[in-house]
């Protein structure tokens, strides 16, 4: 059930797509008019919101791929889950970092216990646990099964985590950072935000292509190592040089 040998040529279009998506986001968010209330700071939203959105998307993809692996037992699903998890960690980390950089000038504190930001930080640690779990063994199938079961367990618990965090925060702080309750956003800002979200999603897809390629190559190395009629373990043991017959 392992994959046929990976494509030999390495596609290059994903790198270009990533660069273009990044550029589009940068240009769009730099040229739009600043928010009346927040001024220039509002521009940070155009990278913070898409990264938080990507953190959610990558998380869902990882969990869906994990479930598919458990069902189909095909390692390509495991590779997709792992690729999305690693990309997810990066975007989650970025969302947290940007959230802090935005909060400091706006509210004077690095960390606002905003419900969505808190949930993003929890997902960050679930991702770290997932990636750490993948490093506990080199056996492809064992690794895939453990990761998949944790994946499904996480997707089952995360709605409850989401629920509890939401209730907990709405009890204490109604307004949320990501969807400022303030006056409706200017349409130009809303359009820019949408562009940024779409550009980030495209960047995510391109990253997935390359990261899956990497995962396939890494698995190919492991499979090649294991399939080759490598030396038999016992062969490494030879008669000791001291003892009978050598004195």
């Amino acid at each position: 059930m392992t994959d046929p040998t990976p494509t030999s040529t390495s596609t290059t279009w994903p790198w270009i797509v990533m660069a273009v998506a990044g550029l589009v986001t940068f240009v769009a968010s730099m040229t739009v008019s600043p928010d009346a209330v927040q001024g220039q700071l509002s521009r940070i939203m155009y990278v913070h919101v898409p990264s938080a959105w990507l953190a959610y998307l990558a998380f869902i993809v990882t969990m869906a791929a994990s479930a598919m692996y458990l069902w189909k037992r095909d390692l390509k699903w495991d590779r997709r889950a792992a690729a999305s998890a690693e990309i997810g960690v990066v975007f989650t980390g970025m969302a947290l970092g940007l959230g802090m950089i935005w909060a400091k000038p706006t509210w004077g504190v690095w960390w606002t216990w905003d419900a969505r930001l808190t949930l993003t930080s929890i997902m960050f640690f679930i991702y770290l646990g997932y990636l750490a779990l993948r490093r506990t063994t080199d056996d492809l199938d064992v690794r895939a099964r453990r990761a998949a079961i944790l994946g499904v367990l996480a997707v089952v618990q995360v709605p409850l985590v989401h629920f509890s965090v939401e209730w907990w925060r709405t009890l204490h702080q109604p307004a949320t950072l990501l969807r400022p309750e303030g006056p409706e956003m200017a349409t130009s800002m809303l359009v820019t935000l949408l562009i940024a979200v779409m550009a980030f999603t495209v960047m995510y897809v391109a990253m997935m292509f390359k990261r899956i390629e990497l995962a396939r190559l890494e698995d190919a190395v492991l499979i090649a190592e294991q399939a080759s009629d490598g030396a038999v373990a016992g062969a490494a043991v030879t008669t000791p040089t001291i003892g009978r017959g050598t004195a």
Binding site: S8, T9, S10, W15, M18, G22, F26, G39, Q40, L41, R43, I44, V47, H48, S51, I87, V90, G93, M94, G97, L98, I101, W102, K104, P105, M203, M207, K210, R211, E213, L214, L217, E218, A220, V221, A224
Partner: protein, 43 residues
């Protein structure tokens, strides 16, 4: 907070995002070429 100070924060945010994304993408590229070398069919 003056507009200039605000720009500092915005540039810090974009700088941070840029560094994180570039480092990650480069790391994928490096790991791919290294594994390809090990597999023997250089891309």
């Amino acid at each position: 907070m003056t507009s200039a100070e605000q720009w500092n924060w915005v540039l810090l945010a974009y700088g941070f995002a840029y560094v994180v994304l570039v480092l990650f993408v480069v790391s994928i590229g490096v790991r791919i070429s290294r594994v390809r070398a090990r597999l023997g069919d250089g891309s």
